[in-house]
């Protein structure tokens, strides 16, 4: 199948046990991308990335080269902040890249820094990634010694320092502006935009925030050219992408797939990928792109893994985590579980998200635990509508960040798909699945 022919851009080294070591990295072409990059004018690197069509892998899917070009010319210092907070439930791809190939990320950070003319980058790494911290700290030391970081990188005159910062233990700290506040030592709360980080970000200086996976592509793009990257995938979904597949599949895990060339069905059933649904059961529903994404039903199995296509059908590829639910799944319980996560993680800054998340969670819990009322379904939908007017995707925003308006996604989609199962909970005074 098509995706099997695509090159492994992000995961080429992972077949080796010692993929995280500098030796293996160097033996497999490591830092060649950085050497090549610093030998060229910075603007050319930006152009390569623009040509590649690479879109951010952190969730919003914003074109990376374009984001870089929003930096105001001539304002220095400017910063690159690497988002390694990976807090979205069921997303575990950055985790793997950090632990298993830290030098690839370092190389990507250095190339991106060179391209945007910044000399200090910050790597905000989820606090719970103990092994990741250990390996990244070690890799950073090695990179300095190797001459890939620090003053005068590979004799090019380019200086770059990377500061490793442990995350503050909140999902919201992965939201780019909350991340910046957290990095500055404040409470992790999103900021009002404008100003956007590109204009006033970290310490009020122009800042680019990029996801770990986004930057892990840099060396390949420099070495093979943006056009080669853009030749992979289709339309505005270029290159390959790491998907974290979990739920009721036989082979959960991270898979690098070429975008737009295969479908969710391929992802779930291909023996080299998901390997089919557990126990040969049927897909009841699946989440195409993280906890914030509206659910899809089996009718969308043939939707291609294409950012725009998924969005057009009312959801998103988001952070790249795909969760499969088979027939044995209680949709109420699943929606409740996700809502509970959001209620726990809402930063509390804006009213609809702070109060709405808790309210929705309490109502869902009541239904699941047998004290639901028929009118609760309309109540849920109406409260959801007050968070995200219109209940469509992308959501109408009433809040500072998009966490709030994402909360309704699992609720309204599960009610739309499984209203009768909700009503069974109400009628039977409990969950039919337990």
């Amino acid at each position: 199948m098509a995706f099997r022919d695509a090159p492994d851009i992000l995961t080429s080294r992972l077949r080796y046990e010692d993929s995280h070591t500098l030796e293996r990295f160097l033996a497999t072409g490591g830092y060649d991308g950085l050497r090549a990059a610093v030998a060229r004018p910075a603007d050319e690197i930006v152009e390569e990335v623009k040509t590649s069509g690479l879109r951010g892998r952190g969730g919003a899917g914003f074109a990376t080269g374009q984001k870089w070009s929003f930096l105001p010319a001539d304002v220095f210092p400017r910063y690159l902040v690497v988002n390694g907070d990976e807090g979205e439930p069921a997303t575990f791809k950055d985790h793997m890249l950090i632990e298993r190939d830290p030098h690839q990320l370092i190389e990507g950070i250095a190339i991106a820094s060179y391209a945007i003319k910044c000399t200090k980058a910050f790597l905000y790494l989820r606090g719970e990634f103990a092994l990741g911290h250990e390996r990244m700290s070690r890799a950073l030391r090695e990179a300095y010694t190797h001459g890939a970081l620090g003053r005068n990188v590979f004799g090019s005159g380019f200086d770059i320092d990377i500061v490793l910062h442990p995350g503050a233990g909140a999902y919201i700290c992965g939201e780019e502006t909350a991340l910046l506040s957290s990095l500055e030592g404040f409470r992790g709360e999103p900021r009002i935009r404008p100003p956007f980080p590109a204009v006033k970000g970290l310490y009020q200086k122009p800042t680019v925030v990029n996801n770990v996976e986004t930057l892990a592509n840099m060396a390949w793009i420099v070495l093979n050219g943006g056009a080669a990257y853009a030749a992979l995938g289709q339309g505005r979904s270029t290159g390959t992408r790491l998907l974290s597949l979990s739920g009721h599949v036989n082979r959960p895990g991270n898979y690098e797939v070429e975008l737009a060339k295969s479908t969710f069905r391929d992802l779930f059933y291909d023996p080299a990928l998901g390997g089919g649904i557990k126990g040969g059961r049927e897909v009841k529903a699946f989440i195409p792109g993280g906890a914030s994404a509206p659910w899809f039903g089996p009718d969308q199995l043939d939707c291609p893994l294409d950012l725009d296509e998924v969005q057009q059908r009312g959801s998103m590829m988001g952070s790249g985590s795909v969760v499969v639910m088979d027939e044995t799944t209680c949709p109420v319980r699943a929606a409740w579980r996700i809502t509970k996560f959001f209620a726990h993680e809402s930063c509390g800054k804006c009213t609809p998200c702070r109060e709405g998340s808790g309210w929705l969670e309490k109502v869902l819990r009541r239904i699941e635990l047998g004290a639901g009322r028929e009118e609760d379904l309309d109540l849920l939908l109406d409260v959801c509508d007050n968070l995200a007017p219109g209940l469509s995707w992308p959501p109408g925003q009433t809040t500072i960040c998009v966490l709030g308006p994402s909360i309704p996604s699992p609720i309204y989609t599960s009610i739309r798909m499984f209203r009768d199962e909700y009503l069974t909970h109400v009628k039977e005074g409990g969950c039919p699945f337990s």
Binding site: C347, G348, E355, S357, G358, P389, P394, G396
Partner: protein
């Protein structure tokens, strides 16, 4: 956009709800709409703070923008079309209101805010009748005290961050913060660190619900029982505008009013809660006359008679120069004018001083070119040579702090110790007490390299001079008394040096007592007459009206106290003055009270000083009388009466007028309005500043004297008469025994056509130059074994207001002697040690504390804290006070 169109227009055109108007670029939609009569509901937005966009009550629709942006964080843009009333907006706003209510306890019946609560109001107007929320509400322990003054009920909090933003952005005291997240988010203090901000009461005022309540006000009244009047805070001389609220003739609350040039709606806690003193049970409510060792209650006639006889006897025996007046800086302008007229125009003594040698010479304050608070906040640089503004003029501190933090104004601080302003100053030059003149000379010398001066290194002086420039262009000098332990004359002389070297510099006086500026303007100081004129310059102008005038310039407070101690001043009239606690040198003050044969105290409480008086005349306090007051800028505003005074208490001006009659004089006015009319006619700096002018809409924020506007338009109704009529109702006319036969409304001077406000013959206003401060003795050489005393004030002190305000009294700190760690090391001392401190006056035992904000060679001890302290150590006859510090064992 081409460059042309970009630069041409300085407004943008926006349309809100179909109404098209111009707005300033960068203005927020919520503010622009409000200016054009479209009110967008809000909870978290406050016009004096940066927007946070937290409550989401102000969501609107904007053409071409996805979702519902908040009007409070969205700046207007050219061609923007905003809709605040679409069904989508309405639903979202209803949704927000519902969200805010689901966890709200709805204990409105027992909530201080019930009846004036934006949440309650909005719910009544727009909210759903019934709650759809059937779950258990969130619970917190309620309420918890987050400081001595403020209680927090977290269940009522709607997380608008007004309080936390105020504490952080406005007050610079980030002591409250959000903790936890989601619907557990709550406001809290940090462990073991209460919300001890001088400005905490503002958070109560701006909290949109009853989550924050003020301990002095809790459960005192319901909004519908409250009656209010706009006035000016007279606790210090910033002159913040306030609403004074009463319930059943008791003052119960004071709220800040947003005055653009002055207080931006903020108040300090001393000003806000100091009204408690007015309601204190210990007020003197009836006249007292001494019989032997005791002060016995007497009738007003008896008391007047006793006071008049005592004063007349001294005048007849020893001459008018043997009578002196101290104080008078706490009343209204009308009070001060009446006392000045009694002293100078009836008794003909010039030994009158509204300051207690704790401020600056009148000539300097009145004669230097002036700046307003706004001038200071917009200056290129501010030179601060004065007290710790945070402690003495708190809201001026807030204004300047904002100017530094948000406006980038450069502050150069010059003082004997670090202050609350130090962390905002570009540089702080710590000089040796008594040597301000040397520092001023060096700073303005333009020399390169700069020599060391007054204990300040040349490089530091050069850096400061670099910030301030060479001609004083754009420089505002905030000028006050940095320490009462060094002579005020040296500070005034330093100011004169600066004024001479930098002709373009302007001065903003930083004197603290409520109406000290008004009292100085009204002539309550030696050598001056009302309206900022010198005694001799004004002699001709005033003698026509007043009849007699003092022959010779009199004594200032230091002179009066010294002369009384030696028996040369025989009669002392204390106008709310307590020299034993407020004069720098307590030993001398005690001797003065003992030495003066006859003492009259016009006071609100019996103080250490008024207890020694022969006659005590009870005076009305703030809130009990109407009139005008003058702030540090010279801004004249109205103060209003809200409650009736207890007992038979009277306003000062009435007491002065009565005394005048019994001394064979006639002050010639019988209402507050009439006093003001005379001031507006006679006092050269105030000519034309009539009640009518003050009452105009555009003068809501007061009028800065000297008044330069045209005279009163003749065609307008004589407002004075209306005022006079109102004053009659408020009991503000002379008791009928005094003005027997005077027709009730006829007492007002009608402006007549031959009154020429631009008056030929009007004396010139004072100016102040080098040498005018009088002789300034050089401080003695520094003795290596001695430490030189610095004595500044604390906001919470042992003064009448704090002592008699139940919730403030406990906040005065206990005195500690602070010294540079280097000096403490040298003496083998550490923080917490007790030491013996000896001056030429006395020896005290005190606790020491290390403080790097005190320069080597100096020690700081706050002035006027409860108990023994700086006043006992200071030798007022010396330019500085040197101390010996030894361990107690």
């Amino acid at each position: 956009m081409t460059e042309q169109t970009e630069t041409k227009k300085d407004t943008v055109t926006v349309t809100v709800d179909g109404k098209t108007f111009e707005a300033a670029p960068g203005e927020l939609v919520i503010a622009a709409a409000e200016r054009h009569g479209i009110y967008i509901p809000r909870f978290c937005w406050h016009p004096r703070m940066k927007p946070v966009g937290m409550c989401r009550m102000c969501l609107v629709e904007i053409e071409g923008v996805r979702g519902l942006p908040p009007a409070c964080t969205t700046p207007v843009a050219e061609g923007m079309v905003v809709d605040t009333r679409t069904p989508v907006v309405k639903k979202a706003q209803d949704g927000v209101l519902e969200f805010l209510l689901i966890n709200h306890p709805l204990d409105c019946p027992v909530c201080d805010r019930g009846g004036e609560c934006p949440l309650q109001d909005q719910t009544f107007s727009f909210g759903p009748g019934e709650s759809r929320f059937v779950e258990e509400k969130r619970h917190f322990e309620k309420p918890i005290a987050i400081s001595e003054l403020v209680a927090l009920d977290r269940e009522r909090c709607i997380q608008c961050a007004r309080c936390t933003r105020f504490a952080d952005e406005v007050a610079g005291d980030p002591l409250i913060s959000f903790v936890d997240r989601g619907d557990h988010t709550q406001v809290l203090t940090f462990p073991d660190d209460p919300f001890t901000s001088y400005f905490s009461g503002n958070t109560v005022q701006i909290c949109p619900v009853g989550a924050l309540t003020a301990s002095p006000y809790r459960f005192k009244a319901r909004p519908w029982d409250l009656d209010q009047v706009e006035s000016t805070c007279s606790t210090c001389a910033v002159g913040c505008r306030v609403n004074l609220q009463s319930s059943q003739n008791d003052l119960v609350r004071m709220l800040g009013v947003d005055s653009e040039p002055v207080n931006h709606s903020w108040l300090c806690d001393k000003g806000r809660f100091g009204y408690q003193a007015v309601e204190h049970d210990g007020r003197v409510t009836h006249p007292l006359v001494r019989k032997g060792d005791e002060l016995i209650e007497a009738s007003w006639s008896e008391a007047y008679a006793a006071a008049a006889k005592g004063l007349a006897d001294v005048r007849d025996l020893h001459g008018a120069g043997a009578i002196a007046f101290l104080g008078g800086a706490r009343g209204t302008n009308e009070d001060a004018y009446a006392w000045a007229k009694l002293a100078k125009g009836v008794l003909a003594t010039d030994s009158v001083d509204c300051q207690l040698d704790d401020g600056l010479p009148a000539a300097a304050v009145l004669g230097l070119p002036r700046a307003t608070i706004d001038d200071a906040c917009r200056a290129k640089a501010v030179l601060l040579l004065g007290p710790d503004l945070k402690e003495e003029l708190p809201v001026l501190y807030l204004r300047l702090r904002e100017a530094v933090v948000d406006g980038g104004v450069a502050v150069v601080e010059l003082g004997p110790q670090s202050t609350g302003m130090t962390r905002h100053a570009k540089t702080t030059l710590l000089y040796r007490p008594g040597e301000a003149v040397e520092v001023a000379r060096a700073l303005t010398s333009g020399r390169d390299p700069m020599p060391d001066a007054g204990g300040v290194r040349g490089e530091e002086l050069a850096a400061a001079a670099g910030i301030l420039g060479r001609a004083g262009e754009g420089v505002v000098v905030v000028l006050g008394r940095p320490s009462v332990a060094e002579s005020g004359r040296t500070v005034a002389e330093a100011a004169a040096v600066i004024a001479a070297a930098w002709p373009q510099a302007r001065f903003l006086p930083a004197l603290r007592r409520g109406n000290v500026m008004g009292a100085l303007d009204m002539g309550l100081a030696p050598g001056v007459l009302p309206g900022r004129v010198g005694l001799d310059a004004g002699r001709e102008w005033f003698s026509q009206e007043w009849g007699v005038l003092p022959e010779e310039p009199g004594l200032d407070a230091a002179g009066i106290v010294g002369a009384a101690a030696e028996g040369r001043v025989q009669a002392l009239v204390l106008l709310g003055a307590d020299p034993i606690n407020d004069f720098p040198d307590r030993t001398l003050a005690r001797r003065a009270l003992a030495g003066a044969g006859f003492v009259v105290a016009v006071d609100t409480f019996l103080t250490d000083s008024s207890r020694e008086a022969d006659v005590v005349l009870p005076a009305a306090m703030y809130g009990e009388k109407a009139g005008t007051t003058t702030n540090i800028e010279g801004r004249v505003t109205r103060v209003n009466q809200k409650v009736t005074a207890p007992g038979t208490v009277r306003s000062d001006w009435i007491i002065a007028a009565e005394l005048a009659q019994r001394l064979g004089g006639d002050l010639g006015f019988d209402s507050t309005a009439a006093v003001w009319a005379e001031i507006a006619r006679l006092a050269p700096s105030h000519v034309g500043l009539t009640a009518d002018v003050l009452g105009r809409r555009e003068n809501r924020d007061g009028v800065v004297a000297p008044y330069e506007g045209e005279g009163p338009p003749r065609h307008e109704a004589p407002v004075e008469q209306i005022e006079a009529a109102a004053a009659v109702h408020q009991g503000e006319t002379l008791p009928s025994e005094a003005v027997a036969g005077a027709p009730e409304h006829a007492a007002v001077d009608e402006p007549s056509d031959d009154d020429d406000p631009a008056g030929a013959g009007r004396p010139p206003l004072l100016t102040f130059a080098v040498g005018d401060a009088g002789s300034t003795a050089a401080p003695p050489a520094v003795d290596a074994y001695a430490l030189r005393l610095v004595a500044g004030r604390r906001l919470y002190d042992n003064g009448v207001t704090v002592r008699h305000s139940a919730h403030l009294a406990g906040l005065a700190p206990s005195p500690r002697l602070r010294a540079n760690p280097y000096d403490l090391d040298r003496l083998g001392l550490g923080t917490g040690d007790r030491v013996r401190v000896t001056s030429s006056r006395t020896t005290l035992t005190l606790e020491v504390a290390a403080d790097t904000g005190i320069p080597r060679g100096s020690v700081a001890l706050p002035f006027n804290l409860p108990g023994e302290g700086a006043a006992d150590l200071i030798d007022g006859t010396q330019p500085v006070t040197d101390l010996r510090v030894e361990t107690t064992n």
